[in-house]
Amino acid sequence: MGGGGGKIISNHGNMDNPVKLVCTACSCLCDDIEIEVEGDRSKRIRNACIKGASFLYATESPERRLSCQIEGQPVSFEKAIEESARLLQRASRKLIFGLDNSTLETQAAGIKLAQAMKAVIDDNSSFCQGALVEGILGGTIPSCSLPQVRESADLLVYWGSNPYHSHPRHLARFSFYPHLQYREGSPKPEVTLSYLDVRKTELATLCEPVFKLKPGGDRDFIEAVLLAIKGAGKNEEAKAFVELVKKSRFCVMFAGLGLTYSLNGDFNLFIEMIHQLSQGRRVVVIPMVGHFNMRGFNQLLYARTGYVNKVSFAGGVSHGDEFSFLEQVRNRAADCLLIVGANPCRNLPHSLMRNLEGVPIICLDPLVNSTTRASRVAFGTAVSASETGGRAIRMDGEEVTLLKIRSSQHPSDEEILTRLLDKLSK
């Protein structure tokens, strides 16, 4: 195992002068995190949610940190680079997956490596929020920044998303509580909060009204909304939803994975609804992106290829579902995988992931996990936004600077990818 966090280099880190950093536990990228330090360990973490604080403490735990390994045995960094280059050189169908928990600089290095190796490259967005991000980047889905939400929105709708669990500080920092206008004598801001979900969630105490959907019923509800906009149909809930949006000046819909999966990744009807509801008011969508820099990966790849994910560089640039990570694994299409900051062996369908048995995996991650355990070569990397600096794109498309506050005995994922590119270019 590798060591925990390295020496603090930022400042004193005491109670009056805490170390400041950006949290990378989700794509809120909260930039107000303060750490009181004792020695080189965090004594107290201020402002972080339970998700962020737990992640930060985990990165300081020596038993959780990963070192360079081949077949589970510790090796030097150089040996791990040699073996990875050998595996990649002999493979004819290479797949790079992940990069959503990496800086923009690392993502750029990953895309460059994929291009040089004529490899397939994909990330988690191909089975979560990629279609929404692509719609926003392509101009078919209107969106806005989170500061605009706080300053101007008067209706906030969480659709298939429970921020209490996925993005615990979203309401506190970006949407509901920081709203600029408050009613006199009221603890609630001048903004209507609503949600659509299949079950009652913690949001229910703040929301009025609430729309409870049948599981898998989002498409039916959207169709009913489209009818209600025309004054037709008999769905009273849909009529109430249309009235709610029509009363607003600026409505923001925070789209979660509940919506994505209910629509099976097809947002055409949802986009049609957004455009029709936009007559006479501003209606925008912000995807509740999970991984801290998934949107950054999408934007970089889009700028280079015109696609946010599922790209093959074999013979120029190709795009299609056959290049999604899921399809690559299902079809046993890749003969070597390079996985960066992702853990598909844990939460993706086990019946599918069994197809990877016997396929050499090279994995980069700060922490030990199921995928690093299953890898032929594993690199323990420095932690983004504490042991390496860089830039990332928040869920709303705003760029955030990540500061390095600690030294690290671990290489950065950018350094590893750059070394591999150098090796393979020779």
Partner: protein
């Protein structure tokens, strides 16, 4: 318990969701709490009644992909026939990916049959690592 349910079990469609306390227990290395919060199926009062069990009972969830034992929790806002599970290797054992049917894995629509059992909760280590054909999960 309803006689036909006793014979055939209760068909249930599982929806997965995020549980921040489960996520935190994982990061903090609290293995028991992580297992407890992951090996859970939330069910409606009428479904628990159909199975003839109360909250806290052991429930076996079976489908073509796997068979696991988890603990039942009461969730009155869920409609009958639907269950809830946190995203975890437990749910991942039951999830399938069949692009001929749906483009995405069925994270939000896992078809299982639920039945009461005297067996204990499936441990995280018994779930194995699909990419290794065994071993222990993180």
């Amino acid at each position: 318990m309803n006689a036909s349910v006793e014979r055939q079990g209760l068909p249930l469609i599982i929806i997965t969701y995020r549980d921040v306390f489960q996520t935190a227990s994982k990061e903090r290395g609290l293995d028991n709490e992580y297992q407890q919060r992951s090996a859970t199926v939330w069910m409606s009062p009428s479904d628990l009644k159909q199975l003839g069990v109360e909250e806290g009972a052991m429930i076996k969830l079976v489908n073509t992909a796997a068979s696991i034992v988890v603990q039942a929790k009461l969730e009155p806002s869920l409609p009958p026939g639907f269950g809830g599970m946190p995203v975890s290797p437990y749910a991942a054992k039951l999830i399938s990916y069949e692009p001929a049917k749906t483009k995405l894995p069925n994270f939000k629509r896992i078809e299982v049959v639920a039945e009461p059992t005297d067996e204990g909760i499936t441990s995280v280590s018994d779930l194995g690592n699909p990419c290794q054909g065994g071993g222990t999960d993180d």
